[in-house]
Each structure stands twice: as C-alpha cells, then as structure tokens.
Amino acid sequence: MACRTLCIRRNSLKSLRYLKGVASIKVERKRCVGCSMCLIVCPHRVFAIEEKKAVLADRNGCMECGACATNCPTDAISVSPGVGCASLIINRWLRGKNIDTGGGCC
C-alpha cells in the first residue's frame, strides 16, 4: 500500500482513539423524537438513527463536547460537557473545584 494511504489512515480519527469506556454520554430513548440534530452536529459522528431514534453507534469516539445535548430540542441527551484539557483541570484542582468557564485553556 502506498505510504500516503497508510499515513492518511493512521492520521484519521478512526485510528486516533482516546481512552475506552469513560465517556459520560447517555441518550434517553423515550424522549428522542428522531430529529437527527445530534447526527448533524457531532464532530466525531458517534450517533446513528435506528428505528427513528438516535442511538450511540460509537460511544468511545465521544469527546464530550456537548454539541448534541445543547442542540437536542427534547433534552434527550445528557453528557457532562467540558474541555478535555490537562492544564484546565489542574487549574480547577488548584482552585478547589470551582468550575468557571474562563479556565484559561485554549
């Protein structure tokens, strides 16, 4: 296989994966109206529609950005959103867990 193809594969986010089984995302099936807004906004394409309801097709791909929950018109999605950033978390620990949005990360 050409080096270029190999390189593209390795560098795509299908192979750049983060820790397994940590994402806090949940979809409440009963509330979902199948509008597919979550499918549109997710930058990691973790959702799929099955039987007119959103399901998590790739939970481990979730980075908890919160775009889906913010744009869900029926609040069917819950996730503890935030920025996955070590220095932000350290600042928060040092300041004793008071969470504010101006955490000086990126």
């Binding site: 986010l13 806090s24 990691h44 996955g84 990126c106």
Partner: protein
C-alpha cells in the same frame, strides 16, 4: 443622509453618486497631494482615506463600504496580504496570540444583497482570515460574534460563542432589516455553544450548521447547504498537529525559564568543590535534559501521535521520553547515577507535556483526561523528585 467630509470636488461627486445605496471602493479614494518640490523623503503620500474617523483605525482587510439603510458595512478582501500572513505566523508562534481580534459586527464579501447567505464566525483574526480567504467570488454577509478573540470551537466551549451572543449580534446589526431570508450559517464546531432551537425562538432566525472546516464552505454553498459526512467530521492531520507545536513551547518556556540559572547553582556542589568545568558540564547536561524532554513531549509525541503505542497521552509521553532520553543518555556517556536521574527528569517532563497536549487535540474527553491525570501526575512528581535527588547525589557516589 450624512455625508463624509471629503476633500476634492471629484471625490465628493463620486460619493454623491453612490451615497444613496451602493458600494464605495476604498482603492483610489484617498486624495493625492501636489507637494511641489520636496526636500526629504520624496513626495508626500496621499491624504487620509475619507472613511478614517478620529479614534478609529481603518483595517487593511477592508476593501470597500456598502452603504445600506444608513449603515456603512465594511466589505472585506478575500485574499490575505503580507500583514495578514505575518499575523498568522506570530499567532501560531504564541506571540500576540491572546489579543488578535477583529471588531465584532456585520461584514460582507463581494457585493452582498438581501438574498445573500449569512455566515457566522468568531472574532479571532485567524478564524476570520481563514473564512474570508475561502470566499473569493462569493457574495455573502459575515456576522462576527464577540468571542473575546478566541476561535470558534474553544469559544463555544467557553460559552462566548453562544446562543445569547449570536442573538445579540443579530439584533445589534439589525440583520433582519438587511436580509430577506431568516437563515444563519453557523460553523458546525460552534454547536457546542449554540442551541439552534433557542436561536429560532429568540430572534426568528433558523440556524443551519455549516461544515467543520472553512475550506469546505464554497462547496457547501454550491451544494444547496448540504454537508457531506467528510465535511462534518473532524480531522487531526500531521500538519494540523504541527501548527500547534510552537505555542506549546512558548507557554512552557514562559513558565520555566527561571529554572536554568538555578540548575547551574545547584550543579555546584561536587567533591572537588567548585571545579568550574564540572559545574558547567552538569549545568549544561541538566538544562539539555529539560529542553529535550520538552521536545520529546511537546513535539515528538504530537507529530508521531498515531504511531506511539498507548491511548493515554501521559503513557505516550513517558514512552517517548524513556526511549529518546535513554538514547541521549547513552550517547552522552554521562555517569550512571547522574544519568539515571536526568533520564527520570526527562521522562517526567515528556510525560507531563504530552498529557498537556490533550488541551490541543480535538478528540480527548474531559472525563478521560481527568482519569489519566489522576494516575499519571503522582508518578510524574515521584519521577521528577527522585530524578533531581539522583542528579544532586550523582557526583558523590
């Protein structure tokens, strides 16, 4: 209609023709001065542009003004000039990056009319530049939100690129009077801060999420505002990772520059007290270990990200540190105890900085980062402390 004070009859006439409504190009608007014989520095440059007002600065990226409903809306260039590119470079290096802003509000490209699409962006100059350079030949409005000079995604995470700010700018710019449609194209990565259904309720505009990357915006508009899966997916290519490296170094350097003189002081206690060559050698070696440890964690790990084993960034950094640092220690022929100490310091720094890179990646979740930090930070501190002790004790054993 209020006229701008324009010197020279010809210019006044030009302005009168377009004053009712229309585009006033800035090029050639400034009046030439007949300065006669000059003594120094050649003939005088042209007068100030009539659009320059006391206390305001006319930005170099403004091409023309569109006079409409009593407002002068700046139309921007769709190519970047040398000054824009220099600004991009400095921002990438971390210099002047925290204050690189565009005044928020309404702009346009081409010659927009009431049916032209409205693209929403952040007031970080890089975001603004990268969007406008994709808009050559496209007539559209640009609604720049006040995100305090932060890019779209980070601002959405901080909730400055938000529903409220979007609604505020729609109202401030009286957008509803300027366009016939009720549609805003918001970059997909802004969705973290913007709730489409709330925007609709609050100001009547419908949010359409555009592609992740501004380079796809032309295709998105051509394609009847449909984005392909590829346009909706985030990437983290070698080049995208490379662009982030200088800032990491700049921030790390700013935090720890004071350590280096300290190292030369701490290097002083050796058995043959104050042998200058020995102090110099030990100071250089330890400084080198810190700098190259930073290279390992903040440069090698980001560049070789997909190839270094492990999912946790702290692990990737430690592996890179052990391998690269071990190789350097072996090549430098440093004494075993001192060398092991420096290798521990090297590995701790590499691991810490790699872990810190999670803040720059587009795929690490906060729950995951916190989890790996709880495991890694105690080990990093132990390695650093043990390393420093071994380095200090090195000359005596």
């Amino acid at each position: 209609m209020q006229f701008l004070p324009v010197a020279g009859e010809e210019n006044t006439r030009q302005q009168e023709q377009v004053a009712e409504a229309g585009i006033i190009e800035l090029a050639g608007l400034a009046e030439e001065v007949d300065s006669g014989d000059v003594c120094c520095g050649g003939p005088a440059p042209p007068r100030s542009n009539p659009f320059e007002k006391p206390g305001y600065e006319l930005k170099g990226y403004v091409r023309a003004f569109l006079r409409k409903n009593g407002d002068d809306i700046p139309l921007v260039k769709t190519s970047l000039d040398r000054r824009d590119r220099l600004g991009t470079l400095l921002a990438r290096l971390g210099i002047n990056r925290d204050d690189y802003r565009v005044p928020p509000g309404l702009y346009g490209t081409g010659s927009p009319d009431a049916d032209s699409p409205v693209l929403v962006t952040a007031n970080y100059k890089l975001s603004f530049d990268f969007l406008r350079r994709e808009l050559a030949g496209i007539d559209c409005w640009l609604l720049v939100l006040d995100t305090c000079g932060v890019n779209v995604w980070c601002a959405a995470g901080k909730n400055t690129f938000s529903t409220d700010e979007l609604v505020r700018q729609v109202e401030n710019t009286r957008l509803a009077e300027k366009v016939n449609h009720r549609r805003l194209i918001v970059p997909q990565l802004g969705a973290t801060g913007v709730a489409a259904h709330h925007v609709k309720l609050k100001c009547g505009f419908r949010v359409v999420y555009g592609p992740v990357r501004s380079s796809d915006i032309g295709q998105f508009l051509d394609n009847d505002m449909q984005a392909s899966e590829k346009m909706r997916s985030i990437t983290f290519t070698l080049w995208e990772r490379f662009e982030l490296i200088p800032v990491e170094f700049y921030i790390f350097g700013k935090k720890i520059w004071w350590v280096f003189p300290l190292l030369f002081l701490l290097a002083a206690p050796t058995p043959d007290f104050l042998s200058l060559t020995d102090v110099w050698r030990r100071g250089l070696l330890s400084s080198g270990a810190i700098i190259l440890g930073a290279v390992s964690g903040a440069m090698i790990v980001p560049l070789l990200l997909p190839w270094i084993p492990g999912r946790s960034f702290a692990v990737k950094g430690a592996l890179s540190g052990l391998l690269f640092g071990g190789l350097l220690a072996w090549l430098s022929g440093v004494r075993p105890v001192e060398g092991t100490g420096l290798l521990l310091v090297f590995t701790a720094i590499s691991s810490y900085l790699a872990m810190n890179f999670t803040g720059s990646t587009p795929y690490t979740s906060p729950t995951g980062v916190e989890k790996e930090m709880k495991g890694a930070i105690p080990l990093q501190i132990c390695a650093l402390a043990a390393g420093v002790l071994m380095w200090l004790a090195g000359p005596f054993v």
